[in-house]
């Protein structure tokens, strides 16, 4: 797809969320100690923390933009890239790894056309790795949203993923 033909509805939806964010920021105006709480709210709204949201938070709470960015990049929970509707997590814990989960990860990366930490263009999937989900007996394991899949093979990994619209 060329850039002109791409769907922009995600961005349009994003624009509509800013007034809600601004309202929330106003409730915490000039209170740097509320930074993490406000960022949580913003992340909940957008699914990630776009630059513009970080700028609004910095200005509203009277915190430097750099400090906001520092906090956002420090905590795993916060993301600076948009998250997909479904999160795909491949386990790279010891048991899964020795049973070939690296291959499953590579296959999924290739099929979805994204790297670990990325989101597909249509914002359907985000791909990540986890280190052990306690399903070692089912290794190699994969997690899609809240659902655990065991004994995954390179041949059926995409079948599982594609069930999620």
């Amino acid at each position: 797809m060329s850039a002109e033909n791409q769907c922009h509805c995600a961005e349009t939806q994003e624009e509509e969320l800013y007034p809600t964010l601004q309202e929330f920021i106003n409730e915490h105006k000039g209170r740097p100690q509320d930074l993490i709480m406000v960022l949580h709210k913003a992340q909940g709204l957008f699914g990630y923390l776009p630059r513009k949201a970080q700028e609004l938070v910095a200005e509203g709470l009277n915190v430097s933009l750099n400090e906001v960015y520092g906090v956002v990049t420090f905590y795993n929970f916060f993301s600076t890239v948009p998250q997909g509707r479904h999160s795909v997590k491949v386990c790279l814990g010891t048991a899964c790894y020795v049973r070939g989960s690296q291959k499953i990860l590579e296959k999924t990366e290739k099929e979805l056309g994204i790297k670990v930490g990325g989101t597909t263009e249509d914002r359907r999937y985000s791909l990540d790795v986890v280190r052990c989900i306690g399903a070692c007996g089912l290794a190699p394991a994969m997690l899609v949203d809240e659902d655990v899949y065991g004994r995954v093979k390179t041949t059926n990994a995409m079948e599982i993923v594609e069930k999620y619209e």
Binding site: R51, Q54, E55, A58, E59, S64, L65, N66, E67, V68, Y69, G70, T73, F74
Partner: protein, 585 residues
Amino acid sequence: MIKARINNVDVEVPEGTSILFAARKAGFNIPTLCHHPDLVPGGQCGVCVVEIEGIPGLKRSCMTPLGEGFKVHTHTPRVMDVRKQLVELVLSNHDTDCLTCIKNNSCELQQLSATLGINTIEYPRFEEKMSIDRTSVSIVRDPNKCILCGRCTQVCSNIQTVNALAVNNRGSATFLSTAFDAGLGNSVCINCGQCVVHCPVGALYENSQVEQVWEALHDPDKFVVVQEAPAVRVMLGEEFGMPPGTLVSGKMHAALRRLNFDAVLDTNFAADLTIMEEGTELLSRLKSGKNLPLITSCSPGWIKFMETFFYDMIPHMSTAKSPQQMFGALTKTYYADLKGIPPEKIVSVSIMPCTAKKFECQRPEMNASGYQDVDYVLTTREIGRMMREAGLDLKEMPDEPADDIMGEYTGAGTIFGATGGVMEAALRSAYCLVTGKELENLDITPVRGLKGIKEAEIDIEGTKVKVAVAHSCGKARELLNKVSDQLKKDGKCEYQFIEVMACPGGCVGGGGQSWGSNMAKRARRGESLYAEDKSMPHRRSHENPSVKAVYEKFLEKPNSEKSHKLLHTHYYKRSTVDGKVLPGK
């Protein structure tokens, strides 16, 4: 008092003294890497660890106070082994191209590695190269050299309150950078260079223009004029191993002549001129009562800080340009006329204790002469490097005066380099301009020294003028917050005149000074400027014969139309996101 034993020496120190300082007192130098005497110890590097009997584990001596009865061991095999390991780990992902590094021979990591006797690195080298940030006209940041000690972020956030640099990510992915890694040139950075002078390694340094200046000096078609800031004459000696604060005005002029500059002039002349313009501005504002307090405008770091964080203060700012820019504007007009040199052939170079001056000279409005008024700005470090490259040893130079026309200066001009100096110089002349009489005691000591915010009240024949002086942007923020509150509340402020310098200590503490700076050195440089002032035949700006001449022959009088065109400027509102000028302001 606390009594304890360090190695085999009994010590007695006041409560709260760190083990690091107590050990120094006992004659044991514990090596450090992230520690800096002017900053709060953060314990990032762990190199200063020591063993304390009865306490498990090793303790960081920089942030552990000595306790009663402690038995401390500073150099046991275990401690020395850990220190070596820590430094080896730092070196394992440090770009160790020392021979071509800007900090070669003045790097604290290099010295530490030598002190600890590190001759092999037990860890595999980590070779991933990161790109060098060259977005700023003043400062270059090389993340490959960064050791994450945090000194730059501490000075940027806590002392300057600019918050341009901060810690991003965490763990092994940690790096120090600007928000969104956009680069210093696209951030709120004010170019003060305090990060540069606090960096222990070669991760931060000035954007050098040495090459361009060499080229101009060897171009027979160019007439290269050089000016040197007040503070440079008490700093340059350090580049040649002289004690901090050695006054080298004469030797500096001689060495610059030997570098082949066509005219060796002096910024101090323009400092005197600034006093005439700013002093006259002060008088007219005192008379009208409008836009008081008047705030000084010599420090380009402070100007960008004000434009970003205090743009409401723009009407209070003096419109007078900084001495560097006044000098630049006159070089390509007045000086060019008198010497009969076409201005397009003139290359105007300035030697500054400052990295923000590199930004200032490239501001688009700084072209009153019809050309860029100042072409190249070199820091004290850069000119020191050029002199060494040319085989000149400053210590061996004779004492020579600057050239005529724009080289003569008074004691008032020279003290511009220390915090409070502009204020003192302005008051000396303002007193005369108002009363027609000369101030008897020229030493206005309450505005001298390194206290963060200084205040004084001067009686000018019944008119009380209350003044304040702030140095470092943190202190300026504190003072300006107070001023804005008063203005909002009462419509007026207790002060009539305020001096602000962006760097701690004033220009003698600027981002262009020699490596290895601290407040003690800054203090000595300041004292040296006051000593030169005391020794001068003229100590008031309005007595400078060359300043009188420029008004008679060219500018007519202070704040004349011509002065306004050449010597005054205006300011912009800037974004707190990227430091860029906001449209329509």
